[in-house]
C-alpha cells in the first residue's frame, strides 16, 4: 500500500516487523504458481536451447525461488497483533466486499443485460452504497450523464459495438 507513511526512498527497503494476516498463505500460493508453471512447461517442446519451453521454465524457477524466500521471510516475522481482526476482515472489509461482489455480478450480467442497463445499475448501486443510502437522486443523474458520454464516445465515435 502506497498511501501510508512519510516520504521514504523506496529503493531503500526497511523490512516490516509484523506479518500481515494471510501473508504466509499468499506466499504459498505464489510458490505454487511457480511449481505449476514449471510442471506444465515440462510438457512443451524442449529439444534445444532455443525451444519454446526455455523461458517459461526460467520464469517458473525464479517464481518458485522468490516465493520460497518470501515464505521463509513471512514465517520469521512476528505474528499479526491479536486486535487486527480475522483474515476475512483484513482481506475484504465491508465496502471492498460489497463492490467486489457487485463487480462479479456485473461481469456475469454484462452479456445478458447488455452494457447500458448493467452499467447503469452498477454505477447507481455503487454510488448509493458508498453514500450510505443518501443522495440517491444525485447518483441517478450523475450515472446517467456519465453513461451517456461513455456510450456516445465508444459507440458512435469509435464504433465499438457494446455488449
Amino acid at each position: 500500500m502506497r498511501t501510508e507513511s512519510a516520504p521514504q526512498d523506496l529503493s531503500v527497503y526497511v523490512p516490516e516487523k509484523v506479518r500481515r494476516p494471510g501473508e504466509i498463505g499468499f506466499a504459498v500460493l505464489g510458490t505454487l504458481i511457480g511449481v505449476l508453471g514449471y510442471y506444465f512447461a515440462m510438457g512443451m517442446t524442449s529439444d534445444s536451447y532455443s525451444a519454446p519451453s526455455v523461458f517459461p521454465k526460467i520464469a517458473s524457477a525464479v517464481i518458485t525461488a522468490c516465493g520460497a524466500a518470501s515464505l521463509a521471510k513471512a514465517i520469521k516475522r512476528a505474528k499479526p497483533p491479536a486486535n487486527s481482526g480475522t483474515l476475512f476482515q483484513f482481506l475484504l472489509p465491508g465496502d471492498v466486499l460489497f463492490m467486489l461482489a457487485m463487480l462479479v455480478v456485473y461481469c456475469l450480467a454484462l452479456p445478458k443485460l447488455h452494457f447500458i442497463l448493467s452499467s447503469y445499475a452498477f454505477m447507481v448501486v455503487g454510488m448509493v452504497w458508498l453514500h450510505r443510502g443518501k443522495k440517491i437522486l444525485q447518483s441517478l443523474i450523475i450515472s446517467a450523464g456519465t453513461l451517456a458520454v461513455l456510450v456516445a464516445v465508444f459507440r458512435y465515435v469509435f464504433l465499438v459495438i457494446l455488449p
Partner: protein
C-alpha cells in the same frame, strides 16, 4: 533546398491542414487519456474515415492524433493511477502521488511543457539525421533487442517498491503470464489448456487496466471515508528556473526516446520505462524521493515518449520500416492512398517528408496550448468525491477493456487482474513490475530464441556474441554497470547517502 522549405511551409499556409492537426491533437488527447482507447486504434479507424480525403489532410489528422494520444496517457496516469497508455506507466509512478498531494496541476503543467520541448527534439532529429539514425537502428540484432529487454527488466529494482524479492516475483509472474497463448514464432501452444480464448494470449493492456485501475479503486474502498485531495492550481506552467533545472534530464531522455523510437518494433512504452529508470539512477538528490512524487520521474518518461514520436517516423520515412505500431498503420494508409512507403519514398515524394516534419511541429505546439488549457478541468476531476468517481472508474475500465478487441472475455481477465492486484497490494507486492514483465516478456523470449537460432543452438557462439559485436558489448557493459551501481560498494564510492 528552397524546394524543401516550400514543402515544409505548406501546412503552415493551409488553414484546413491546421484545423485538422489541432482537431487531431484534441481528439488524440482524449483517446490517450481513456484507458483502452489507444492511438493505434484511433489511427486505424481514421484510415477508413479519411479514405476519400486527400493524402495531406489524412496525414494531418493522423499525425495530430498520434501526438495527442501519446500525451493523453499521462493525464489519467497522474489523476487516477490508470495509465491511459502503456507509455505512461512510469509517469503514473510519480504523478499519482503528486496528485494525492494536491499537485496534479503542477505535474500536468510540467509534463506539457517538457513534452513540447521533447517533441521538438524528436522532430529535429528526424529532420536533421534521419538516414544516419535509421542505418544505426538496423544494426540492432536480435541479441541487442534481448539486451534492451533485459535493461527494461532491471527496472523492477526501481518500481518494485518495498521488498526486492517480491518485486522480482511480481515481474516474473508477469513474464510467465505473457507466455500464455500461441507462441508467435513456432505456433506452439503454451499454458492454453485447450482453450481457444487462451490461445490468443492475454493483452498487456487488459492486465494493465486491471492491475492499475480496478485494483486501485478496490484499495481505495478500504478507506472510503477519506476525502479527495484538494488541488492547488496556481503556477501551473513551470517558471524558467524550474524548467532549466530539468532541462539536462529532458535532453537526455528525449534523445533516448528518439533512439528507442527509431528501433523497429520498440516504441514510446519501452522508451519511457528505460528513461524513468535512467533518471532514477542518475538523479543524485531529488526533492522528493522517487515513488513519492519526484518531478524528475515525470520529466524523464514524458520526454522520452514524445521524443519517440519523431523517432518512430525515422525508419518509416527513410526505409519504409515502421518504428512502432502507429507508424505501421500510417504506412498502410500511405499504401491505400497510392503512395509507395519504402526506401524510395524520400526520393519519389520528398514533399511528404518535409510536410510530416512541419505537421509534427504544429501538432506539438497545438499539444502545448490544448494541454495547458485543459489542466484545470482535468485536475478538478480528482476533487470529485471518491464515492462518485470510483464506480465511474470501474465502468470506464470495463468499457475500455472491452473496446480493445470487443471481447467480453477480456473484461473477465481485467476483473481478475484487478482482484489479483488488490491482494498483491495488501501483501506488499507492487503491481508495476507485473505489467513490466507482461510488456517485456515476449521481447525477451523471442529475441533470446532468435539469437540462439542464429548461433545454431550452440552455447559458445551464443555467449561469445555478447563480447564480439561492439553494440552488444556496449549494451552488456551498460547492464553490468547498472547492476554494479546498485551495490553498496559503488554507492559508498560515489558518496550517495
Amino acid at each position: 533546398m528552397t524546394q524543401n522549405l516550400q514543402y515544409f511551409l505548406i501546412p503552415f499556409m493551409d488553414w484546413r491542414i491546421m484545423l485538422l492537426l489541432w482537431g487531431g491533437v484534441f481528439a488524440g488527447i482524449w483517446v490517450g487519456a481513456i484507458p483502452g482507447l489507444s492511438g493505434t486504434m484511433a489511427v486505424s479507424l481514421l484510415i477508413s474515415f479519411t479514405f476519400s480525403w486527400e493524402i495531406n489532410d489524412a496525414l494531418a489528422v493522423m499525425c495530430g492524433t498520434f501526438v495527442g494520444a501519446v500525451y493523453g496517457g499521462a493525464i489519467t496516469a497522474i489523476l487516477l493511477n490508470i495509465p491511459g497508455a502503456p507509455a505512461a506507466i512510469a509517469t503514473g509512478m510519480e504523478g499519482y502521488p503528486l496528485a494525492q498531494k494536491g499537485e496534479a496541476g503542477k505535474a500536468i503543467g510540467l509534463c506539457t511543457t517538457v513534452s513540447l520541448f521533447a517533441g521538438f527534439v524528436g522532430v529535429a532529429a528526424l529532420a536533421a539525421a534521419a538516414p544516419i539514425i535509421a542505418r544505426f537502428a538496423l544494426k540492432f540484432s536480435p541479441r541487442d533487442f534481448f539486451l534492451l529487454a533485459v535493461m527494461g527488466i532491471l527496472l523492477i529494482g526501481s518500481i518494485g517498491g518495498g521488498d526486492p524479492i517480491k518485486g522480482i516475483m511480481s515481474g516474473t509472474v508477469g513474464i510467465l503470464i505473457s507466455m500464455i497463448g500461441m507462441d508467435p514464432s513456432t505456433g506452439e501452444l503454451r499454458y492454453t489448456f485447450g482453450s481457444l480464448n487462451l490461445m490468443a494470449g492475454i493483452s498487456f493492456v487488459t492486465a494493465m487496466i486491471g492491475l492499475f485501475g480496478v485494483s486501485e479503486a478496490l484499495t481505495q474502498f478500504r478507506t472510503s471515508g477519506a476525502k479527495s485531495p484538494k488541488q492547488n492550481l496556481t503556477k501551473v506552467i513551470p517558471d524558467w528556473p524550474t524548467f532549466k533545472k530539468y532541462l539536462p534530464l529532458a535532453v537526455r531522455s528525449s534523445l533516448l526516446g528518439v533512439f528507442i523510437g527509431a528501433l523497429p518494433g520498440t516504441g514510446g512504452d519501452v522508451a519511457a520505462l528505460l528513461a524513468y529508470d535512467q533518471a532514477k539512477r542518475t538523479t543524485r538528490n531529488p526533492e522528493t524521493p522517487f515513488g513519492h512524487g519526484a518531478y524528475e520521474g515525470l520529466v524523464a518518461p514524458e520526454t522520452a515518449n514524445k521524443g519517440a514520436i519523431g523517432g518512430a517516423f525515422i525508419p518509416m520515412l527513410t526505409l519504409g520500416i515502421p518504428g512502432d505500431a502507429i507508424t505501421a498503420i500510417i504506412i498502410g494508409a500511405l499504401f491505400i492512398h497510392g503512395l509507395r512507403p519504402g526506401p524510395m519514398l524520400m526520393i519519389e515524394t520528398p514533399h511528404l517528408f518535409w510536410m510530416i516534419v512541419s505537421m509534427l511541429i504544429i501538432a506539438n505546439v497545438a499539444l502545448f496550448v490544448l494541454g495547458l488549457l485543459s489542466v484545470r478541468p482535468f485536475a478538478k476531476i480528482i476533487e470529485i468525491p471518491k464515492s462518485i468517481i470510483m464506480p465511474i472508474i470501474i465502468i470506464l475500465s470495463v468499457i475500455g477493456t472491452y473496446a480493445i478487441q470487443n471481447s467480453v472475455v477480456d473484461v473477465f481477465y481485467m476483473t481478475g487482474f484487478g482482484v489479483l492486484g488488490y491482494f498483491m497490494r495488501l501483501y506488499g507486492y507492487a503491481t508495476g513490475p507485473m505489467v513490466l514483465g507482461l510488456i517485456l516478456g515476449p521481447m525477451l523470449d523471442s529475441n533470446y530464441r532468435r539469437t540462439m537460432q542464429i548461433a545454431e543452438d550452440r552455447l559458445f557462439p551464443f555467449v561469445s556474441g555478447f563480447f564480439t559485436s561492439p553494440l552488444s558489448f556496449f549494451l552488456t557493459a551498460s547492464i553490468v554497470f547498472m547492476l554494479f551501481s546498485q551495490t553498496k560498494l559503488y554507492r559508498k564510492w560515489r558518496g550517495i547517502e
